[in-house]
């Protein structure tokens, strides 16, 4: 019997396959299906700092628009007694999910500032979440902001959130740091219990007919995995926080690579969007088959088996490997040159 169980954020998971934060997780029926199909845990969709504020401001703006101006229409809407503004709907969702599921439920909070909104971290904990994923999605575009300031703000935010809650906190972030390794280390010091590598930043596309910038979301592919493998392999066993991979997990091979690089869990969204939630079951079956074929007993056994410390050529993860790859490119004969 092959043991797929793993540990993540102090939780015991029956499988390393975890549904990452996405709109799939907004729907309770989907969450139940994920559990049914063998997910080790679910990360709920994110509660966005901007969304909470924007919803409040939008409601305020349209309730105020045109009001108290003209004698016949001093308002345009009934003054309802209660709006479930802010995080209430989200917290209710956590509660419902906790009631409906046996697998761990991880809340997700998305924001960049250390403002009052981080108290929602505690509210997520109070609502029953088993752990919290803090998704720091910040694209610095100002010419004035320096790298150090950004790094500090990440650490400040992690510290502030950690101070709010007792449940473990994972930090999900992007790869764009001058020194990713140092950044990971600083987040370790700031108290992160796990790092989720990496966020995929939306990249705008152009519509040349309308001359508009079109927000474009493409699903990840297995190609996206390599950046993650690289960093997980490098950081694995070097820092205290656990590591999770998100982005690029599409096949059983991808899952196995992630675990071998050192990830506690691998997270999926694109694959589920592409193939449906049931795909999770196929993936697990394929992983088990592969492990069986290659006589692996457990996930624990293979975890980190190919991280930087465990491979024969650690340099493969470093600059030397870069040179090797380039060399291999130039050595490919091209007909046009003949």
């Amino acid at each position: 019997m092959i043991d797929l169980s793993t540990g993540y954020l102090g939780l015991k998971l029956r499988s390393p396959l975890v549904a990452s934060a996405s709109p799939i997780c907004k729907d309770l029926a989907n969450l139940q299906k994920l559990e049914e199909c063998g997910a080790g845990a679910v990360v709920l969709h994110s509660l966005f700092e901007e969304q909470i504020n924007a919803e409040a401001e939008t409601l305020d703006r349209f309730l105020s628009a045109g009001a108290e101006s003209y004698a016949e229409s001093l308002s345009y809407f009934p003054d309802l007694q209660n709006y479930s503004m802010g995080p209430k709907a989200y917290l209710d969702h956590i509660q419902r999910a906790k009631k409906a599921l046996r697998i761990p439920v991880i809340g997700s909070l998305n924001g960049v500032s250390t403002g009052g909104w981080i108290r929602y971290a505690r509210e997520i904990e109070d609502a029953g979440a088993d752990a919290l994923e803090l998704n720091i999605y910040f694209l610095p575009t100002s010419l004035e902001i320096q790298g150090r300031e950004i790094e500090d703000s990440y650490c400040d935010l992690v510290e502030a959130v950690k101070a709010q809650v007792h449940i473990p906190v994972a930090v999900k972030l992007g790869p764009y740091f001058t020194s990713m390794a140092n950044m990971a280390y600083r987040l370790d010091r700031a108290g992160a219990d796990a790092l989720v590598l990496f966020n995929r930043f939306y990249q705008p596309d152009f519509d040349i007919e309308t001359l508009e910038v079109a927000p474009h979301l493409t699903l990840s592919t297995s190609e996206d995995l390599r950046l993650r493998l690289h960093w997980v392999a490098l950081l694995s066993r070097q820092i205290r926080p656990e590591l999770a991979i998100t982005g690029g997990i599409h096949t059983a091979e991808d899952v196995l690579k992630g675990i071998m690089a050192g990830a506690q869990v691998v997270m999926l969204t694109s694959a589920l969007l592409k193939h449906g939630i049931e795909y999770l079951r196929d993936l697990a079956t394929n992983v088990v088959e592969w492990m069986d074929r290659h006589e692996y007993e457990s996930i624990r056994q293979m975890r980190g088996s190919m991280n930087a410390a465990a491979v024969a050529e650690p340099a493969a993860f470093e600059r030397a490997n870069y040179l090797k790859v380039l060399g291999s490119y130039t050595s490919v004969p091209t007909r046009s040159r003949i």
């Binding site: 909470i52 504020n53 919803e55 409040a56 401001e57 939008t58 409601l59 305020d60 703006r61 349209f62 309730l63 105020s64 628009a65 045109g66 009001a67 108290e68 101006s69 003209y70 004698a71 016949e72 229409s73 001093l74 308002s75 345009y76 809407f77 009934p78 003054d79 309802l80 007694q81 209660n82 709006y83 479930s84 503004m85 802010g86 709907a89 009052g116 001359l211 508009e212």
Partner: protein, 1185 residues
Amino acid sequence: MKRPQVTIDGNEAAAYVAHRLSEVIAIYPITPSSAMGEWSDQWSAAGQANVWGSVPTVVEMQSEGGAAGTVHGALQGGSLTTTFTSSQGLLLMIPNMYKIAGELTPVVFHVAARALAAQGLSIFGDHQDVMAVRQTGFAMLSSHSVQSVMDMALIAHAATLESRLPFVHFFDGFRTSHEVAKVEQLSNEDLRAMISDDLVRAHRARSLNPDRPVLRGTAQNPDVYFQARETVNPFYDACPETVQRVMDRFAALTGRHYRLFDYFGAPDAERVVVLMGSGVLAAEECAEALMARGEKVGVVNVHLFRPFSAAAFVDVLPKTVRAIAVLDRTKEPGSPGEPLYQDVVVALQEAGNFAAPPRVVGGRYGLASKEFTPAMAQSVFAELAAVAPRNHFMVGINDDVSHRSLAYDPAFSTEDPDTVRAVFYGLGADGTVGANKNSIKIIGEDTDNYAQGYFVYDSKKSGAMTISHLRFGRNPIRASYLIERASFVACHQFSFLERIDVLKVAEPGATFLLNSPFNAVEVWDHLPRSAQQQILEKRLRVFVIDAYRVAKENGMGGRINTVMQTCFFALSGALPREDAIAAIKHAIAKTYGKRGEAVVQKNYAAVDNALAHMELVQIPKEANSSFDRQASVSDRAPEFVQRVLGTIMAGDGDQLPVSAMPVDGTYPTGTAKWEKRNLAQEIPVWEEEICIQCGKCVMVCPHAVIRAKVCEPAAFRDAPVGFKTAIARWKERANMRYVLQVAPEDCTGCGLCIEVCPAKSKSEAKKKAINMAPQAPIREQERRNWDFFLSLPQTDRATVAMHTVKDVQLLEPLFEFPGACSGCGETPYIKMLTQLFGDRAVIANATGCSSIYGGNLPTTPYTVNAAGRGPAWSNSLFEDNAEFGLGIRVSLDKQAGYAGELLRRFAPRIGEALTGEILAADQLTEAGIQEQRRRVAELDQRLTDLNDPEMRDLAAITGALVRKSVWLVGGDGWAYDIGYGGLDHVFASGRNVKILVLDTEVYSNTGGQMSKSTPRAAVAKFAAGGKPGAKKDLGMMAMTYGTVYVAHVAFGANDTQTVKAFLEAEAYDGPALIIAYSHCIAHGYDLVHGLDQQKAAVQSAYWPLFRYNPALAAGGKNPFQLDSRPPALPLEKYIYNEGRYTMLVHSAPETAAMLLTEAQKDVNLRWKLYEHWASLSYSNGGAQS
């Protein structure tokens, strides 16, 4: 018992009692009573119970007539029932009122009394409506203040059960219904103590019940009707005593003692004024001041007007009285005197026991909320002192026609010097009124002070000015009139100083707070000279704050309300500063807390940062400005516009004498152009290089401020420097030049034109063919350009391809600069109507938004072309617009027919050729119409030349020989609800009328109440829990006739289809209905996205585009053509862009989800049905082939 002190308005006070004492509430919105129904609906939606622990059922009906019928039925069903209404609404209830009274049924109608539509409509307060029901058999109880509204509401509910007579409880619209005042709130125990459960059970026992059946509503014959009508007399005889008994019981409970007639004044008064409603308070203030001078005067406050107790009235009059003036807030033209006057005369005649009977005179005051002040009351008392006081006078206006008005001394004031009197000039959008309502609540509820707030609004919906009048102090406040001497004046918009005299109201030594972009040092030089002079003469203390900056810095955008409110509290000293700030924050949390933390926090920040930015201005020794306030109207305007309308524009309409007003309510059109409002901070600027001349911006502009012309190059010879043109992109207009011009001072800055513009710069994508730019720097240049543009020749209509949007832009709009909301979704349709047919259109306009921006004085957007032709427009009522329009059509047809008859009769003398051509004319094209006009002009000339007395009739109606287009315009409240019966009849009539339904899916004008057009899942007033039922398919209903042209259009989704529909509708010789999607401020999103929402509505198939043309069926073709594609967008992607839907997601997520599912089903099924219909074969009479 200690009762809570609450600060509420009269409507809430009445609704508070009515909701707690009712089981069924039938409502229909009408200003100024709508809020009573809205409160009831909200309370019931939130599960608030009546005093018996049960939540009242609130039903909205299709009209007040419907509400009255429902009330009647609910009463027959044994429920305690109530309703709320005003004005025309009450008139529609009259038939049922006779029934309810004739059957001795206890009920209370709460009425915010309002003027009636006569020479013009008015939403404001007087007693014309209630006086029109005094004969129905209802008892009538009058309140004069917010406290008395709450008290009398309870007394009415108790007395109706005890007397079995139904009651109208009324109070003055706006002055009392909308005045915010501190009152003692009655408790549920008070209400229970006053209502006898035995009488409630007796009411139920009289209900219709098959277990103990009875028959009511018989037809009675000459033998017994009379006797049966007289059976009720004992109930009327007993009623006054019953009411007094209830009042006495109320007094024992609360300590407030009312009598049927309350007397205030000297016990030995010789002169007494009798009146009812809020005017009583001004009269009492005056009497008190006169008594202090030793004058023997008094005031009778009439509470129980019907049944009128002559004995009780005579009883309260001092025996010393020698002269009585009875003031009626109504007018009955042709009567020997107004109703209250007549009652008093009769009462004295019948019950008077005076040795020397007092002389009685009657007068009118206060129609349509005309101010009634102590100064006016003083003139009445003074008149009574005359040897022969004038009778049938009026007070408050200058009647220079029939010379019946009393002059009064405006300097006479009874304002309490210990009361703080604050006046605030704000902009609708800046939140001033909302903050002032909060201030009054704070002062009323957090201090021992008495407090009162009253708010005056604009006649325009965009860029509206508001004036708040706040009084507070240690002494009770009776003043039922606007503040004339303010101890504090705040001007929240610097630009107001240029337009109006904001300091006129300031008393010497007053404080003036100004929101100014200039600091304390700079500001003086930017004040108009007259403002400087007043500051010096009155020794005003002046403070400035750049509130816009503070608001912006704290995320408040243009909402400066909390900033200004904080300054007001700091300066007025109503509370210690720290307490005031705490109280403001408490009020913010209460008002905005449920909208979310972010909103509360930014308001807090604005409060915290306000005072540091407020500065005291050191006043120089003398005025130095070389400029002053601007004239409200250009001196190029016609005389009537300058003299009359200009005076109204300047805010001085109260000063106009009777002679200034047209005798029959008839006004010139073409006047909006004289009202330069300069509302927009930014206006569109044309880039002629980028423009593709598609005309879309011209089409979508709700305010007709973007215009296009194509002219010969020579026409631009004298163009001002900087006037832009481009080569015209029309094959048939080669070598001509195109110009797109913006009216800089009329634009509201809504931005719809920019949104719709499809052309973009090839080197800088964000730059379109029109782009917004600050108005101020280009105002002068663009004003010159606009004037020049207007002087350019208009394209000959006969050469315009009317079915193309590109060509429609070249047609002159005869509807311009309406005061509608900025970005309005209705007005583009009306503008287009006038472009296509305006020079021969007659418009019947149902009451609603379109009648308000169409016809609210001072100006109208309807205008004329160079030939003086343009739409003739009239608003009859709300409910009758279809019938009204039909009448116009029938009449025009009759006139045309008669003209034809005469033409035939006189043809030999006039000339057979001309008359034959006229009678056979084809007027289906623009060229045909122009030709007919030419012939008719020739006919007129011949008739003049012939000068035959027999032909005078013909000469008077030759104009009828040119084809006219009759349009019935209104909103969904009219077409789907109150006017539907008439509209349906018009469909069936087959007459050639065109119906334009501006469908905003709510009663927009009265503030967004549900209509039968409101879609499922949307929140609206009276549908606070989301509308559970689907929108009525009015188009489908009309199409079932098979003889009605029907089009469903949305100009933002398909402008060409819209134009086609208008042309086809007009061309169809029969009734035609256009249902036009109109985005609206009541949909809850920024209207700059209105066109995107129209597109989404069509893409989701929520709003399918179609045309049903019966003319096609005649040719064997399917008359039903679908013009939009199958659903390509889930409904939620459309609806959840709008607040009216997302509100429900926030307030009741489960209901929202359920209703969304249902609404999506509605869309799917409707689409399938339409698709199927569009695919049917009509050939061979529809027989199966």
